[in-house]
């Protein structure tokens, strides 16, 4: 039996980007079902939108971001890889779209149409990423889970309880895995594994104990859930939605329709 992980080991779990931040802003209080639908609608509209629509959605996103005070820089830092990929797509689009060249130099085959299209694509993808980020930082995972359960309930053959439970379990395992990796690494460093230059040797001695330990932990967790009467049914969580929530959702949906139709 492995000892429980200490507090110090929990540090790595804190580094996970984009987690729920406890707060009491309007967005936090927005009913989770309406919020989820709004964000999905906005994301899909973004794909279809042209310049005017994008501008409108950008305003919404910037307003939403302002609710997450002080995290803007962190957010862009966390998104750096994504922005890097988007930039790559932008470059390729710029060069590969046929149209009138921007520069006279034949070595830089950028076209005006390419820049416009690439820029739009870049902006759309970024907006969608930011939208999901706002959603995740203002919604408790348990609320998401409950909303998910209710959305999947009318669909036949989908075990919504199990699905929701699995997502919760998965989110719960992530910090555990990160800590476990750190602990095994430390333990091996203390026995001078760094003297072994062969990466395969080192990977093997990290992954095998890691997997074995994790799957044993998972087995124990299943037992613990069983002992706390985990079954297919459980008390549903209370979700309260007022007129305002549905009004907001209606506004968003109407706005989206207008953007798509315009």
């Amino acid at each position: 039996m492995r000892p429980p992980l200490g507090k110090a080991a929990g540090v790595m779990a804190d580094l996970i980007p984009f987690s729920y931040r406890n707060n009491h802003t309007l967005l936090h209080r927005y009913d989770v079902r309406c919020k989820m639908l709004s964000f999905i609608a906005l994301s899909l509209t973004t794909l279809k939108a042209e310049a005017f629509g994008l501008l409108l959605i950008s305003c919404i996103v910037i307003t939403a971001l302002s609710f997450l005070k002080g995290r803007i820089l962190v957010i862009f830092y966390e998104l750096r890889f994504f922005i890097f990929f988007l930039f790559f797509v932008f470059i390729i689009r710029t060069f590969s779209t046929p149209g009138s060249p921007v520069f006279q130099n034949p070595w830089i085959p950028a076209t005006r149409e390419g820049i416009y299209q690439g820029g739009c694509l870049f902006w759309k993808m970024l907006l969608i990423a930011l939208l999901s980020l706002v959603f995740i930082s203002t919604t408790k995972p348990s609320q998401t889970k409950e909303a998910l359960k209710r959305f999947f309930r009318p669909i036949p053959f989908v075990p919504e309880e199990r699905l929701a439970a699995m997502i919760t379990l998965m989110i719960r395992f992530i910090p555990l895995i990160l800590d476990e990796i750190q602990e095994i690494k430390d333990a091996q460093r203390s026995r001078c594994i760094e003297n072994r230059k062969n990466p395969f040797y080192r990977i093997k001695h990290l992954t095998i104990p890691l997997f074995r330990g994790l799957f044993e932990t998972a087995g124990e967790l299943a037992e613990a859930m069983e002992s706390r009467c985990f079954g297919e049914g459980s008390t549903p969580m209370m979700l309260s939605s007022g007129t305002i929530d549905w009004f907001c959702l209606a506004m968003v949906l109407v706005g989206c329709l207008l953007i798509i139709l315009s």
């Binding site: 039996m1 996970i16 980007p17 984009f18 987690s19 964000f39 999905i40 994301s43 899909l44 794909l47 966390e78 750096r80 890889f81 994504f82 890097f84 990929f85 790559f88 797509v89 390729i92 689009r93 590969s96 993808m125 969608i128 990423a129 939208l131 999901s132 980020l133 959603f135 995740i136 995972p141 998401t144 199990r162 699905l163 439970a165 699995m166 997502i167 379990l169 998965m170 989110i171 719960r172 395992f173 992530i174 990796i181 990977i203 093997k204 992954t207 997997f211 074995r212 994790l214 799957f215 044993e216 998972a218 087995g219 967790l221 037992e223 859930m225 069983e226 009467c229 079954g231 297919e232």
Partner: protein
Amino acid sequence: MKSGFSNPTDQLKMTVYASLCAALTAVGAFVAIPIGPVPIVLQNFFVFLTGLVLGSRWGLASVGIYLIAGILGFPVFAGGAGGIGRIIGPTGGYLIGYLPAVFIIGVIVEKRRANLYLDIVALVSGSLIVYFFGVSWLKIITGMSADKAIAVGMIPFLPGDALKIAAAIASARVLRRTIGAPLTPRPFTS
């Protein structure tokens, strides 16, 4: 006796294992090394492993949960981001490709458990499926030619994939022993 409350059911254990595999896949995505438009990730390694260890049905459940969590915005995709943007982003095809891949891997290895050649066949077909979806989508979204898409979206990863396949098979052997008889507690555990 109420059903579902017998000795800890295999089903609950498999549910937890599938969630664990989904979480491992997510962790595999955190360590993204960006080269070109498609980063090197360990996601596919864990997808391979999931298929080998959990089989087709639970493997599909595991990857499905992973994708749903990602679409909902949980930070489980490469580089620690999530959201629908990722599925429709340049690398989305790879993510969607994991679903048929894990299923096929599972179907192949279920034919005969713990057979080395079968494991290799399964993983090679699995990774080809992932590339088929991944490269096609990359081509659509970036407007690159097929040659070019294969050159940036497949070729650079093949050596790494060979290693991942070897590692997945080795790890699966150990794990099948841990899980294979997981439902029997060891005697005199304390």
